[in-house]
């Protein structure tokens, strides 16, 4: 239902990514409840919702990083295990220790070597792939820098480059714009759009409605349950947004944030 921008005629029998009745609970507290939607074609897809809506959990459950209480996730109609090499994950930036003693190049190389077998270190090919990925995100000059000595936006681009080095078909990104300034946001969105144009599917968890409307081809509104999914213009309606954010104090924060950001950029 969500496939837009379908300039490509390649219609496979299965959608690129589909969720059926996905339910996840932490302890007894349900985080996601019967989430059911699919993404047919390559596009730039946003998962939008308030804090604690289960957006990140949706990605993690899709990648078997958290246990599903029920439901299925299919990539091209297949189980994750069969298609892992075609999928790249970009976790939230705060989940790692940026004081870790590795260079930008080391981290991006991990993307390339993560595709190799046990104990294989990789060689020239992996090195070149990592360099190309770094170049792609505009960080080639920072290859030898320790990762803690980068700005938030640069760190996010390092994570993106590591995912690019996996040469995947589907990219799942968790809050790629968190702690990223407006300039870097545009840069990252441009890279993601480029990936989409190359026929990749890019799914990003995002919490800023204003930029979401600007960049995403299609979105899913999530607040524990799926509120709506489809082309951005059709989904981001006042009614749907009210439904997603209703009864939450955080909507006030969101609006406050949006106003603040709007004021700064204008």
């Amino acid at each position: 239902m969500a496939g837009t921008n379908s300039a490509r005629e390649v219609q496979t029998a299965h959608p690129m990514l589909e969720w059926h009745d996905l339910t996840v609970a932490y302890g007894r507290r349900p985080v996601l409840w019967n989430v059911d939607f699919e993404i047919q074609d390559p596009c730039l897809f946003g998962i939008i919702g308030p804090n604690g809506a289960g957006k990140s959990t949706l990605l993690k459950a899709s990648l078997d990083l958290v246990r599903r209480a029920g439901g299925t996730v299919r990539f091209w109609g297949q189980q994750l295990a069969e298609v892992r090499s075609k999928i790249a994950y970009v976790p939230q930036r705060e989940t790692v220790d940026w004081d870790f003693p590795v260079s930008v190049m080391d981290v991006v190389r991990m993307g390339a070597t993560s595709r190799l077998g046990w104990f294989q270190r990789g060689g020239k090919r992996e090195r070149e792939l990592a360099l190309a990925s770094l170049d792609h995100v505009g960080l080639a000059d920072f290859a030898n820098r320790q990762i803690g000595k980068l700005s938030g936006g640069q760190q996010q681009r390092v994570f993106l480059a590591r995912a690019l080095a996996r040469e995947a078909e589907i990219y799942l990104l968790d809050e790629p714009m968190a702690g990223v300034d407006a300039g870097s946001q545009e840069q990252i969105f441009n890279i993601l759009t480029e990936l989409r144009d190359q026929g990749k599917l890019v799914v990003a968890v995002h919490h800023d409605i204003r930029t979401a409307a600007e960049w995403f081809d299609a979105v899913a509104l999530v607040d524990m349950r799926l509120i709506a999914a489809g082309p951005t213009a059709e989904v981001l309606t006042p009614e749907n947004l009210t439904m997603t954010y209703s009864g939450r104090l955080s909507i006030l924060d969101e609006i406050g944030e949006a106003v603040e950001r709007g004021g700064r950029t204008s």
Binding site: D97, F100, M110, R115, K149, R162
Partner: protein, 315 residues
């Protein structure tokens, strides 16, 4: 002084083998400890270390053997049990992580000490020697013991060398590794098990109370000097090796002194030196930067969010 130096150069064969074995232990503890520190597992290692006494004492009690290998296997078992308990407490109770670690550490240590005291007071053969597992006492090691400790250490280092890619990937970002299909939890478990093994073979050198220092201080020293993993592993290995060696030699000169405290003091000397003078991270270096470049850093902040954060480290 001179006759002491000569005495070291002509140490008997047994002492030389023991020195080499313990040096290997120090080196391996530094290398494997690096992953423990990077994964923020230093306290887990400490809990495991304090838990070894129960196993060592039980091994003597149940087998009646005083062989170091047998005692250490006992120590390893109880260290593993402590780690499992720790994981279970964290998973099934609302106890916070640090509290859970402290509980396992103190309870298992108390149990070990009680067991040893009871065995000593009942005059169980060999129980007098158990004290050396408290603070470390390399003077009583045989060449055979040292070979055992050395071989286990070499195997431990080899594990890291072979699995460096996997260990690094999981230590840095377990979620990314798991999403890419690597068994991150299992690799993590292997790393913890390796730390437990190092803590156990480090017992004769540093004792249950202090062996954590052998696993934690060398990586802390190494991190001061480098921003890269492989140099960090090498430096941590060297610092561990030198500290352990110094401990063996100094405590063999003064037989009354247990090895553990000497090892820890030497390692700490390295640490203090490094915190002071290491490039980039050392206090002296950073003070110099702040004074010398303060004008530059003022102009640089204009660049906004993309300005490198070199100066922002907590000073």
């Amino acid at each position: 002084m001179i006759h002491r130096a000569v005495a070291i150069a002509f140490l008997p064969y047994n002492t030389l083998v023991v020195a080499a074995g313990v040096a290997a232990v120090g080196c391996a503890a530094g290398v494997i400890g690096t992953f423990g520190v990077l994964r923020k597992r230093a306290l887990v290692g400490d809990a495991a270390a304090h838990a070894t006494l129960v196993g060592v004492a039980s091994a003597l009690l149940f087998t009646g053997q005083r062989d170091l290998g047998v005692l250490l296997i006992g120590g390893l078992l109880s260290a593993m049990i402590a780690i499992v308990l720790l994981v279970l407490i964290r998973k099934f109770t609302r106890t916070r992580d640090d509290a859970a670690t402290a509980i396992v550490l103190s309870v298992s240590f108390g149990l070990g000490i009680t067991l040893i005291s009871g065995m000593v007071s009942r005059g169980i053969p060999g129980s007098g020697g158990l004290e050396r597992f408290l603070l470390g006492h390399t003077a009583s090691l045989t060449a055979h013991d040292a070979l055992l400790l050395g071989s286990v250490s070499v195997i431990g280092v080899l594990c890291i060398v072979i699995g460096l890619k996997e260990a690094t990937m999981v230590a840095f970002d377990p979620d990314f590794a798991a999403a890419a299909g690597w068994p991150a939890a299992t690799i993590d478990l292997v790393l913890i098990a390796l730390i437990a093994v190092m803590v156990v073979v480090g017992l004769p050198a540093a004792g249950a109370v202090l062996v954590t220092a052998l696993v934690v201080i060398p990586p802390a020293v190494a991190r001061q000097w480098t921003e890269r993993l492989i140099p960090m592993l090498v430096i941590a290995g060297l610092v561990g090796l030198l500290s352990a060696l110094a401990g063996v030699v100094l405590s063999s000169l003064a037989v009354q002194v247990p090895t553990g405290p000497v090892v820890v003091l030497v390692a700490t000397a390295f640490l203090i030196l490094s915190i002071l003078v290491a490039p980039c991270r050392g206090i002296l270096w950073r003070t110099r930067v702040v004074i010398g470049l303060s004008s530059v850093s003022l102009t640089k902040t204009e660049g906004g969010a993309d300005t490198p954060r070199v100066m922002e480290r907590k000073l």
